[in-house]
């Protein structure tokens, strides 16, 4: 049976720290940027950080549940992106801007 070399040389903590770093970078983007499309992309980056942690844990513990969970996360992300971008396009037609501070008119 093929055993991946990564298990012998790299511990799981490396992957967890990498995922935490990617999550923090995405969080900085969500908090700082004003362009709503870039904020949306940073949310995708945070989702991918969590996906990487799930896949690494699944491989290190020999359990396929984590990888199936990553698959469902990708499906939900695809649906979310399509609906979110449709909302962004409709809001752009109304307020002619991509500034996230003007998107508070979405309430109600």
């Amino acid at each position: 049976m093929y055993k991946p070399d990564i298990i012998q040389y790299i511990s799981l903590n490396h992957y967890l720290i990498l995922g935490a770093a990617l999550f923090a970078i995405g969080l900085i983007g969500v908090m700082v940027r004003k362009n709503i499309i870039i904020v949306f992309m940073c949310i995708e980056l945070m989702l991918n950080a969590v996906n990487l942690i799930l896949a690494a844990t699944s491989t290190f513990y020999s359990d396929s549940g984590g990888q199936v969970m990553v698959f469902f996360t990708m499906a939900v992300a695809a649906a979310e992106v399509s609906v979110g971008l449709a909302i962004i396009v409709m809001m752009y037609k109304n307020i002619h801007s991509l500034n996230i501070d003007l998107f508070n008119r979405l309430k109600g």
């Binding site: 093929y2 967890l16 923090a24 990487l52």
Partner: protein, 176 residues
């Protein structure tokens, strides 16, 4: 070349590309760096022997979602005055708070004392397409069906959202 050098190289590349997504001014440049980040994460999946996830990550994320982003960015003409009031104080506050969350996550990783793999049931072929499909259609059949319903709902929602506004109102008015 040992495999841990490949891991560290890929990790550095991933972090740099993810930082460039946040830092770069133009949204199209940001999208391209995000595609590069997704390719690096797919390489991580291949290192972890999760080949199905690597393929799906490239096809779904880099192929479909990023094309959707590029399409929307090119569809809306960008005005430069979006990022006008960005002072250094915003960046400082965001970096400090995100760094606090990063430190919290890292310290919790250190506390957990993870073992390096499950010794009793070593099964390193579970990331292949055959095994993932087998577990997807037996153990996780119901979430799979719910996923298809979710896609149907998302499709109907997008079609409903992107209808012409005036046609919608005239239809409702004429119906009433």
């Amino acid at each position: 070349m040992n495999i841990d050098y490949i891991f560290y190289l890929l990790t550095a590349l991933t972090i740099i590309c993810a930082t460039m997504v946040v830092v770069s001014k133009h949204p199209i440049r940001s999208v391209l760096f995000l595609v590069a980040t997704f390719f690096c994460i797919s390489a991580h999946y291949i290192l972890l022997n999760a080949q199905f996830l690597a393929l799906v990550n490239i096809v779904v994320y880099a192929g479909a979602i990023m094309v959707l982003f590029l399409f929307v960015i090119m569809f809306l003409n960008l005005n430069k005055e979006v990022e006008r009031n960005k002072s250094i104080l915003y960046w400082l506050g965001a970096i400090v708070s995100a760094g606090c969350i990063f430190l919290m996550l890292v310290s919790s990783v250190g506390k957990v004392a993870l073992t390096n793999g499950n010794i009793e049931k070593e099964n390193y072929t579970l990331g292949l397409v055959e095994n993932i499909g087998m577990s997807l259609y037996t153990d996780y059949l119901f979430p799979m069906e719910i996923c298809s319903v979710l896609f149907l709902v998302a499709m109907i929602g997008v079609v409903l959202l992107s209808r012409k506004e005036n046609k919608f109102t005239t239809n409702t008015v004429s119906n009433v």
